[in-house]
């Protein structure tokens, strides 16, 4: 773990991973789209709208996946004071927030044909909405300080506190949802997954993960370059 604390060695690793991530992302997303839109059957109950599940569910998974990798990187930042680990957390936040937004938007587009309203207080959609605020809180505090190192450590603490609270929030929102459960609401993940629907779902999930790693690689390299520029201009001045 400590070998990658040195920025230059870490960038070398990132540059090695990046083309693989890009390649896998493009291939799996192409196949995923083909299966989602063309080579998979409509649902007997929901009709064609079930295809929205192929972009909604992977986005929701990525929203959670990005937040946990952000919390993990933040823990490494605080325990071993690796600035590099924080660069990963800082670079992940906007990607995670975008996936969370996508999960909400596609969830709403999926809910509209089924229940006639754009927003449904379904337990999972509500938890994802609160997760979006955790992301916004992270990004807000990250650059609320003049001293970047201060902002990074404050954000790291918040990410860990947030990560501890996510399951508690999930539990209380599920509990709240069952309490106010209107009779007719169908659970949002729709019918049991039919095998022919599993392939597009898995392909899209793998594609989104590879996409995350690809964008992460780009943002990490840009971030390290900019801190190198800042350090050198400071020294030069």
């Amino acid at each position: 773990m400590h070998r990658f604390a040195n920025p230059t060695r870490f960038v070398a690793l990132v540059r090695a991973v990046q083309p693989w991530a890009a390649g896998i992302a493009l291939v799996t997303l192409a196949a995923g789209l083909w299966f989602s839109l063309i080579a998979s059957p409509a649902d007997y109950q929901q009709g064609e709208t079930v295809r929205i599940m192929y972009v909604h569910v992977p986005a929701a998974w990525m929203a959670m996946f990005c937040y946990s990798s952000m919390a993990g990187a933040s823990a490494v930042t605080l325990v071993w004071r690796h600035a590099v680990a924080h660069v990963v957390a800082r670079a992940t936040a906007p990607i995670g927030a975008s996936f969370t937004f996508l999960a909400l938007a596609t969830g709403s587009l999926w809910g509209k044909p089924m229940w006639g309203t754009w927003w449904v207080w379904d337990a999972r959609l509500t938890s994802v909405l609160i997760l979006l605020f955790l992301y916004l809180g992270y990004m807000a505090i990250e650059n609320a300080f003049d001293d970047r190192a201060r902002g990074s450590r404050a954000a790291a603490i918040l990410a860990i506190v947030g990560a501890v609270n996510v399951p508690i929030i999930k539990f209380s929102v599920d509990w709240w949802n069952t309490l106010h459960q209107p009779a007719s609401v169908v659970r949002l993940d729709g019918p049991a997954i039919h095998p022919s629907m599993l392939t597009p779902l898995v392909l899209m999930a793998v594609g989104y993960t590879a996409l995350y790693l690809w964008i992460l690689a780009l943002r990490v390299r840009a971030d390290i370059n900019m801190s190198k520029v800042r350090a050198l201009t400071l020294r030069g001045a």
């Binding site: 920025p7 004071r81 590099v84 450590r153 190198k228 800042r230 050198l232």
Partner: protein, 222 residues
């Protein structure tokens, strides 16, 4: 007799290297003066010694035992006077001083030490006035009174004489003299000309070496 020492201390503020390779050794009964132009890190070095600012490199040790191993013990040994006085305007001078005494085990019952602290800095008359009516110099005296009220072997003073009139400065010198006489230690950042030959750390030359240090690491700091 205790020894307070530091080896190859390195400090980075934000992403700016401040100093590198600073070493010192301070024995009981001695004063270590920190000198250097503004921005060379005198306050940062003092805050590092207090434990407020973690060092980016090097170690601080007490009797050659690294302080990081037992930070709590170190905190019982020190008295820190920073730029800010730490005096609450809504509380009276007495309430302020007694509060700081109550945080140190054993000091709170020590009436005699409390009165001596007030007397040393000539603020007995102000004991019951709320601190917000005090002048900056008087507030500084209340802060310095903590040195007498709260027993500690290592005093870390950041430009203690600022805002002090000659009487208060003399009182400070006198207190430091008796503290050193009793085997205490003082680390003091100051701009006044050196009055008596003492061990000194001049941070001007360490700053240049720090700037050189950035060539290797990319200036990355957590």
């Amino acid at each position: 007799m205790a020894v307070f020492s530091g080896t190859d201390l390195r400090c980075v503020r934000g992403e700016r290297p401040v100093f590198d390779g600073v070493s010192f050794r301070l024995n009981s009964g001695a004063v270590l003066e920190l000198r250097g132009a503004n921005g060379t890190g005198k306050s940062s070095l003092l805050r590092m010694m207090t434990g407020l600012l973690p060092s980016a490199g090097g170690t601080l040790s007490w009797n050659d035992e690294p302080i990081a191993a037992d930070a709590d013990a170190h905190r019982t040994r020190i008295n820190y006077i920073g730029h800010l006085d730490g005096v609450k305007g809504m509380l009276s001078v007495a309430e302020n001083l007694r509060f700081w005494m109550s945080l140190r085990a054993g000091a709170e019952a020590d009436e005699e030490r409390y009165h001596m602290a007030l007397a040393t800095f000539g603020i007995e008359a102000l004991a019951d006035t709320p601190a917000r009516y005090l002048s900056a110099g008087q507030r500084r005296r209340v802060a310095l009174a903590r040195l007498v009220a709260c027993p500690a072997s290592l005093w870390l003073l950041d430009e203690p004489a600022t805002a002090l009139d000659t009487a208060a400065a003399a009182a400070l010198d006198h207190t430091m003299g008796s503290h050193l006489g009793a085997g205490g230690m003082v680390v003091m950042s100051t701009h006044e000309p050196a009055r008596h030959p003492t061990p000194r750390v001049d941070l001007n030359d360490y700053a240049r070496r720090a700037r050189g240090a950035v060539r290797t690491a990319a200036g990355m700091t957590a």
